[in-house]
């Protein structure tokens, strides 16, 4: 699904990713952990194609195709989804309207007709139930006045609607109370299939009790310094990140 080789990226001449390697296969869940400033969010932004970051070396392949030169919307059309750590507000644009535009732009890129309103509404109903979202929520302006938890739940709702091949969840657990965390994790688990893959970026082991990863990677100073199974996450929780820094 995703194959990243020797990825190097910088922002304003500051090198952040320094030769990152990772391979994620369809059907897998990978967790990326690491201390603050390790480059976790940069990795997510670079895969999604944020233009402030300059890729200075390496490749990003999605299903065998190099996507590192594609515009962010083209990567989205190819099936990349990023659940933002800090989702932005768009006043006056409702959640429903935004999702409709998003789905139809992707369909257009694939040469498909717009999704019929009936199908769209059915899907919205189905997915909002999955994430226990109140229907009133859907007619509010996107992220405007949303609580931290509502913003994150809305991100996963969009993920459910868009059905991406590769979903990257950037600190989706931050700002969530335990109930919201359970709902969000439950949603992600239900959306998981043998055809898609999930990368969970997190600081804490907590989320991984709910979304159980197949692999855990530790990112430090722009590189993956250690990989393992979910036991590695427990070890990190116990020992902290300091011992990693000495590896």
């Amino acid at each position: 699904m995703l194959k990243i080789e020797n990825l190097q990226a910088q922002i304003e001449d500051k090198e952040i990713l320094k030769g990152l390697n990772i391979e994620v296969k369809a059907g897998e869940v990978h967790a990326i952990m690491g201390p603050n400033g390790a480059g976790k969010s940069t990795m997510a932004s670079v895969i999604a194609g944020k233009e402030e970051y300059e890729v200075t070396g390496g490749t990003i392949e999605l299903n065998g195709e190099d996507i590192s030169e594609l515009a962010p919307e083209e990567r989205a059309h190819a099936g990349v989804f990023l659940s933002f750590q800090y989702p932005v507000e768009i006043p006056g644009v409702t959640v429903t309207n935004f999702i409709k535009s998003s789905i139809n732009e992707s369909r257009k890129a694939q040469g498909l007709e717009e999704m019929p309103a009936k199908d769209l509404l059915k899907k919205i109903r189905e997915k909002s139930q999955l994430l226990e979202i109140d229907r009133k929520f859907l007619s509010r302006s996107l992220n405007e006045g949303f609580s931290g938890g509502e913003k994150k739940r809305n991100e996963i709702f969009q993920m459910a609607m868009l059905e991406p091949k590769l979903a990257i969840l950037d600190e989706t657990d931050s700002g969530l109370d335990i109930d919201a965390l359970r709902i969000v994790a439950n949603g992600v688990n239900k959306l998981k299939s043998k055809d898609n893959a999930v990368i969970v970026i997190t600081h804490y082991q907590r989320l991984l009790d709910y979304i159980v990863p197949d692999f855990v990677h530790v990112l430090h100073d722009g590189k993956i310094v250690k990989s393992g199974t979910k036991e590695l996450a427990l070890e990190l929780e116990e020992k902290g990140y300091d011992w990693i820094k000495e590896l």
Partner: protein, 482 residues
Amino acid sequence: MSKYTEDDLKKELETQEYEYGFYTDIESDTFPKGLNEDIVRAISKKKNEPEWMTEWRLDAFRIWEQMEEPEWANVNYEKPDFQAISYYSAPKKADPNKSLDDVDPELLEMYKKLGISVDEQKKLQGVAVDIVVDSVSVATTFKKTLAEKGIIFMPISEAIQEHPELVKKYMGTVVPKTDNFYAALNSAVFTDGSFCYIPKGVKCPMELSTYFRINEGGTGQFERTLLIADESSYVSYLEGCTAPARDENQLHAAVVELIAMDAAEIKYSTVQNWFPGDKEGQGGVYNFVTKRGICETNAKISWTQVETGSAVTWKYPSCILKGNNSVGEFYSIAVTNNFQQADTGTKMIHLGKNTKSTIISKGISAGKSQNSYRGLVQINARAENARNFSQCDSLLMGDQCGAHTFPYIEAKNTTAQIEHEATTSKIGEDQLFYCNQRGIDTEKAIALIVNGFSKDVLNKLPMEFAVEAQKLLEISLEGSVG
């Protein structure tokens, strides 16, 4: 709203140039350039006007001669040479007395390019249209249907002939000849425009619509609209404007007067898309317009405008809330891009008791443009319990444009309640990236964000106009973020 698909938008966005910039080659009958009493008399004669009208014009001309062009607006432009403009230009083949079937096919073709196919409108059975090209009204549809209800909707030149008592009684009562420089000029030289009268208790069954277009080069357009809603009547009126792309500046100085008698309601919507000038700031229309309405007891006037065109806009649709319990509303979206300059807003003059006004202004600036909101809320001494709510929001794109707000509040009665809210925001890279990540490209993302920002005002437009307005917003901001 469903008719207009995203593919249509894409097609339109591909044509980056001003979409309405074609020039229709119709033979026209144009006066020599310049302005003096003889020209004013000649215009009046051309229109077979009665003596009182000629005198009214001459009086206005003499007033205008004594006036100075105003300089207080936040705009910079080379002042027009009023002696270098031709004050009358009529498409030769047009004859307002003929039915639509007799209209010059080339003119009809032009309306099609404007996207206002009269044939189609006819089928829709919803909108009666009066089309003013340069100086003359070309065709008024639905005249008969309206006449059955006693509604008069015709070119003002015809109204002067057929209903002189109404024109004489009301013209200049809301915007007097002495009001301002451009209003005085318009009073002297106006060539056509629309006249509308809704009788007592009649609810106009369809939207009334006027399309204005400047075609001939070196001419000015001075249309005059007079709309009278008699007691307890209702009318919704739409006005659209376009002009061809030219490298010289064209002058447009209109006057619109609305009269809402007791318990009458007038909804007046404008989509202004005069040629804004090119990317280097060459050409474009100078749009100096005076629009004002008067509300008697329990009456209501609602102005809604979407201003995307013109090189320079100077326009303040206003309400005089004379009667007790009368209501004035102003909803505005003003978009400026490239080198456009807009100074627009409203005046709400509260005279009666329990009068209420609402102002919602959305300014969107891009390129190197300057966009100003200028508004006056005046509560007079006898206006007990007057209320006003104003909201002025500005959205900026890029770092070379300007947004300005000049709200004036004068309250002479202690019972007044006045609220003013203002915000300024910028379309951020983060918002664009968020949309991009969801598969929405930057052009479409801007359209989405701008439409969201303008929603409160777009919602006030009649449906068919809302679609056109949305398209215009998108086209006007094409290429505004690099």
